[in-house]
């Protein structure tokens, strides 16, 4: 456990200067004391490979200046997430430039012109470079963990010393922040999500609070039906994502306690062997990266379903990813139907003029449906992880090892996140096409909102995946313990705690 932390901590400290480099310097105030204390705390807090330290202490909450830590956390957590996401977003952008020419690059350009940051071609060419650089580095540097992609990007930045790339990253960060401001206007609760992510609450708490804010907001404002439809948090909760996440957290915490108590009860060689095995397991949990973006290209509709179903069959649990597949396929069918309608619209347009209103409607409809789909897909994914945890824990005899399961689940995570990424691309392309006539400042917030929520979704899924680690650890321990009576002795008191 501690080895891992040692390797992670430098990553955190390393990145901080890069991040604060830009426009988010929290300022020098009493907070700086808090800041300097942070790295010291970290190793203890970053249990396993989780990103959000689960500090149970209230010290953070007592700080009188609240605004500052929030913005600082925005930078850090924002980057943790945008780091992994940003890469896939931008590298796919560079791929799209070549092929579609009107897809993502257009989107980014639109977003950028309004934000006043470097041109997309600049960024994408730089990113191509970063991506290549990163790919080579990935091989040497696979200890990454959740910070993986980010750390490799940042090393690429450092080793090449190309300020252009740093500029590109700044731009991305800027997009991220701008996006959050933009989103905050329409999606007030979620502004806090980012800010709180690294604080001392669990993910479900953060999301719950955000959702509550949204509820207040919607209850208060004289909102239109459509407006409510675009609140990710509310929708995520409606699909029971929040509940499943909370349940998964409970299983995870319980397992974590059990693992600790088992480790405490062992000593000597026995302890070392177990630690070694657990270390392997942990490694499987840090491999979820997004490197083979290029080969991804447009896959057929059935491929996702097939891929995820196959992966699940390897898990040997009785849960099936039907719900996820259904949610995903519904989304794609909708997009297809939309594109078709759009095309017809375009043909009509040549004759008549009265299309402006229609296009506006469809842009809003696409946006609403995009947010809904992302929320649903994410909720289903988390439900799937929760069910998997429950099934892994119920302790039936297994013919797969915990390690194999971890590796499969890691692949599942990658597949799900990729799917979110390509789904969001579909949606934004669809938005761009439908909104050709729209003003940039009307269309851009919608596009950024889709990207942001997709990025959030991917983070939630990755976080949920990390929650499975203790579950598989205890499963590993229980499976290797030959005499079940011994194990019972160790575990019984805790399960009733």
């Amino acid at each position: 456990m501690s080895d891992k932390d040692d390797t992670e901590t430098p990553v955190i400290t390393e990145t901080t200067p890069v991040l604060n480099d830009g426009n988010c310097e929290p300022g020098k105030n009493p907070e700086s004391a808090d800041q300097s204390a942070k790295p010291k705390n970290k190793p203890e807090l970053v249990i396993s490979t989780r990103r959000r330290p689960e500090v149970k202490c209230a010290s953070d909450l007592e700080t009188p200046e609240v605004q500052e830590p929030v913005s600082k956390d925005v930078t850090q957590s924002g980057w943790g997430y945008w780091g992994s996401w940003g890469k896939s977003l931008l590298s796919s952008a560079s791929a799209t430039v070549a092929t579609v020419g009107q897809g993502i690059s257009n989107v980014i350009e639109k977003a950028e012109t309004s934000l006043g940051i470097p041109s997309p071609s600049e960024i994408s060419s730089e990113v191509k470079f970063v991506a290549e650089e990163t790919n080579t580095r990935d091989k040497e540097n696979s200890l990454a963990g959740p910070f993986g992609v980010f750390s490799t990007i940042s090393t690429a930045v450092q080793s090449t010393g190309k300020s252009v790339i740093a500029g590109g990253l700044d731009a991305l960060e800027f997009i991220g922040k701008k996006t959050m401001d933009v989103i905050a206007e329409g999606d007030p609760g979620f502004k806090r999500t980012k800010g709180l992510m690294n604080r001392n609450s669990t993910l479900s708490q953060v999301l719950r609070e955000a959702k509550e804010k949204e509820e207040l907001w919607t209850a208060n404002e004289v909102t239109m039906e459509t407006d409510k439809n675009t609140h990710y948090g509310l929708l995520f909760d409606e699909f029971q994502g929040l509940s499943h996440l909370e349940a998964l957290e409970m299983l995870s915490q319980e397992s974590e306690i059990k693992v600790k108590s088992v480790l405490n009860s062992l000593s000597g060689e026995e302890l070392e062997t177990l630690k070694l095995e657990l270390e392997q397991l942990k490694e499987a949990f840090s491999l979820a990266e997004f490197c083979d973006e290029e080969e991804e290209e447009q896959k057929g509709d059935e491929d996702f379903t097939k891929e995820i179903t196959e992966l699940f069959s390897q898990l040997h649990v009785s849960s099936k990813p039907e719900k996820v597949a259904r949610a995903r396929n519904t989304a794609y069918e909708w997009i297809k139907a939309m594109a078709l309608a759009e095309k017809k619209e375009g043909e009509k347009e040549l004759e008549g003029e009265n299309t402006e209103k229609v296009s506006k409607n469809s842009v809003e409809a696409i946006h609403a449906f995009a947010i809904r789909s992302l929320a649903e897909l994410t909720a289903c994914s988390i439900e799937l992880f929760h069910k998997t945890a429950a099934l892994v824990l119920h302790g039936q005899k297994q013919d797969v090892t915990a390690l194999q399961r971890s590796q499969t689940l890691s692949q599942v995570t990658v597949v799900l996140c990729k799917e979110l990424s390509s789904l969001s691309k579909e949606f934004t392309t669809s938005l761009t096409t439908a909104g050709v006539k729209e003003k940039a400042d009307a269309l851009n917030p919608l596009i950024t909102a889709v990207f942001l929520e997709a990025s959030n979704s991917a983070s939630y899924i990755q976080d949920a995946f990390q929650l499975l680690l203790p579950v598989l650890e205890i499963s590993l321990i229980e499976n290797r313990t030959e005499s079940p009576t011994h194990e019972q002795q160790v575990l019984k008191p805790l399960s009733e705690h």
Binding site: L61, V66, N200, Q205, E209, L216, S243
Partner: protein, 215 residues
């Protein structure tokens, strides 16, 4: 109209527990969908349902955790009890064994929730009176001895289903009113939402955590 689903002042967490096949999921389904689900698959881990009810003019959102009854999930489902404000402990009036296991369920419920958690005993399948294996009286007595609310209900006909959830909610609400349930206590199972918020100030400071604060 559109905003109605989000207008409530409390959230109560409920758990439904009891042996496999006593009809936990069906009770939930009847309560949330007002329908009887004839072929209910075994629950894996836990499933969820929500509904907003009204107690003394207050809108309360029930967040219901419907746990798996299968013995092999017992260790897993124990994890879900934490922070429940109410527990529906269900047995099947036509199967004595499900009644006999109640003490074990009750032990779990008592040990794994907080002392204020309201527990209601529900004898399900009341429509199958001809096959009755547990009398109303003995169950009533068991409930009284253990300080539980008690109802016989039928997920099939819907009889008393509404009341089962409502009675527990009333009791919880009463506990809040007379101060015996401290909303600020960790894992009270109740969340209170300020009813008259001033929209707009959303960037204000984070609220202190309600749950899971270990210090």
């Amino acid at each position: 109209m559109a905003t109605a689903p989000y207008n409530y002042s409390y959230i109560f967490k409920y758990i439904i527990i009891g042996d496999m096949g006593v009809g936990k999921s069906c009770l939930l389904h009847q309560f949330t969908e007002k329908k009887f689900m004839a072929d209910c698959p075994h629950t894996i881990g836990v499933e969820f349902g929500t509904r907003i009810i009204e107690v003394s003019g207050q809108k309360i959102k029930l967040q219901i955790w419907d746990t798996a009854g299968q013995e092999r999930f017992r260790a897993v489902t124990r994890s879900y009890y934490r922070g429940a404000a109410g527990a529906l402990m269900v047995y099947d009036i036509t199967r004595r064994s499900t009644y006999n296991h109640l003490s074990s369920w009750l032990t779990d419920a008592r040990n794994l929730t907080n002392p204020n958690t309201v527990i209601i005993l529900i004898g399900n399948k009341a429509d199958l009176d001809a096959q009755r294996d547990v009398t109303y009286e003995e169950a009533k007595q068991f409930a009284e001895e253990n300080g539980l609310l008690f109802l016989e209900a039928s997920a099939k006909t819907g009889e008393n289903v509404e009341d089962a959830f409502l009675e527990a909610a009333k009791k919880i609400y009463q506990n809040i009113q007379d101060g015996s349930l401290d909303l600020n206590a960790a894992e009270s199972g109740v969340q209170h939402k300020p009813s008259a918020p001033q929209g707009g100030r959303l960037t204000s400071e984070p609220q202190p955590q309600r749950e899971g604060c270990g210090c």
